[in-house]
Amino acid sequence: MLNPNNDIYDAVIIGAGISGLVCGCYLAKAGMKVLIAEQHHKPGGYCTSFTRKGFTFDAAADCFGAYREDGITRKICKDFEIDKKLNIIRPDPSVIIITPDYKVYFWNDLEKTIKELQIIFPEEDNNIKRFFSFVFNSDPNSFSRIRSRTFKELLDQYFTNDKLKAILSFPLLAIGGLPPSMMSAFMGVKLFSEFLLDGGYQPKGGMQALPDALAERFKEFGGELRLSCLVKKIRIKDNKITGVVFEKGSFIPSKYVISNCDARQTFLKLLGKDKIKEDFYLKIKDMTPSISNFVLYLGIDEYFKPLQNPGSALFFSPHYDLDKAYQAAQKGDIEGYGGYALRIYHDKSTISAIIPAPYKNKKYWTNNKHKFLESFIDRIEKYSIPDLSKHIIHKEAATPYTLYRYTLNHKGASYGWAGTLSQLAVPDFRKPSFIQGFYLTGHWTTLGTGISGVVYVGHDTAKKILRKEKLSYKIN
């Protein structure tokens, strides 16, 4: 039964990332009294936008996937009737991969994508068909059988051409933070299907529109969103949630607590080391976060000829050795990494570019940010946009430290825990079995596959709680 006492919440959600907002919307819509506490002054987590000198940039996430007819992101947009309001656009092609020998397009028309790839790699034509068919297969059980394989092992099973394998993996290194030899096949396939085959969707005007629309609906459903509100402690009694404590000291009683923030912080700081079992504590200490990113934001003076395909994500790599690229990225070696991901926005005057980068402290990035930024611009100018530097009106960057500072993700990790084999579906990171009424949602649940992944988890977490409460799961 829900608590009739007005001062007690049914659920407190820590963090207004996409997963927290999605979860909160379903709970509030079903009639629960829900509070979302967000430490930043706007909702969205990594899915926010900001404006400088008239240019609007997406801070980190710049598109989302799984928006086809049965896609999970489309489902939640429809459930909350925000799909029409958002004006969602999809560039065509959504992705372009460029290497010294090839230019590969991912068109909205999947058949066209497959056909073009078969023309480029005729010796692999049947393998390409088989692989795409496997990835796009919607049988809910089909992916469970690849759980102990790496994405490289999966690709090896289908293809012989190493360059083709690298081409199909490079975007995943850029958006999932791992080379195919380290990434779990499950994560690789999810990213491939939701980002490459059904990705690239953007709300017109910037990604901030998505969390803003969700936050608005959440409030309409009776939810309470508190911004600039840091949670300091999660309180439990007899292994059962009792509520949270805010930074300013006030205790907020609640039956459920759902953490949409960093998992290390959730367990070690908010809950406290003494509240978790020794083996789970050791497990957390042993886990590796995903790599962070260096994000470059450029405002340019005019649309000029080299800027083709506005909206499309361009993945460039001057080589095919992705293990070497990953090692270089971990050292902050921009030349060794070689490539980058680049997007020219629909307005044709805004560009963002991104490369994986190591977490270092504030001092390191204060000293190195400018050098890194200039060297990044040089590389884009050299390989993709000649004369770029002559057209820049505004330039700035987010370092891994910046990403940490705004979101408090451990070490500025971009995708939660690294998506390696040993870190896939680790028990107790979604629903800690040792505390009643306590859930995690978002990319730290060991299922970090971008926005569609956190949407899935947010929806699923809400369904679990509603089932416990015997409340109907309301849509529309």
Partner: protein, 85 residues
């Protein structure tokens, strides 16, 4: 032993699926009745491996269609482990 195995697996499936333990019967279809998709099938498998210190072969994961399939598989793996030890 077998009852313990069954109870432990029910508790794992309840946590992963969000369904109450009472709703999980030996022949309940995990996919159709408890909404177990590929992510949750992996979560259940990993939790079973951790709990019983066994290792489930990949090709066996999609064969787990009901609670009794999971119980049988775990008993089989535990017997095998006992024999190997």
């Amino acid at each position: 032993m077998s009852d313990n195995v069954e109870n432990e697996i029910i508790s794992i499936i309840a946590d992963v699926s969000g369904f109450d333990e009472e709703e999980i019967k030996p022949d309940t279809n995990l996919q159709n009745e408890l909404e177990i998709d590929s992510i949750k099938a992996i979560e259940i498998t990993v939790a079973i491996e951790k709990k019983f210190k066994v290792s489930v072969r990949d090709e066996d994961v999609p064969k787990i269609l009901t609670l009794s399939d999971a119980v049988n598989l775990v008993n089989q793996l535990l017997n095998q482990k006992g024999r190997d030890a």
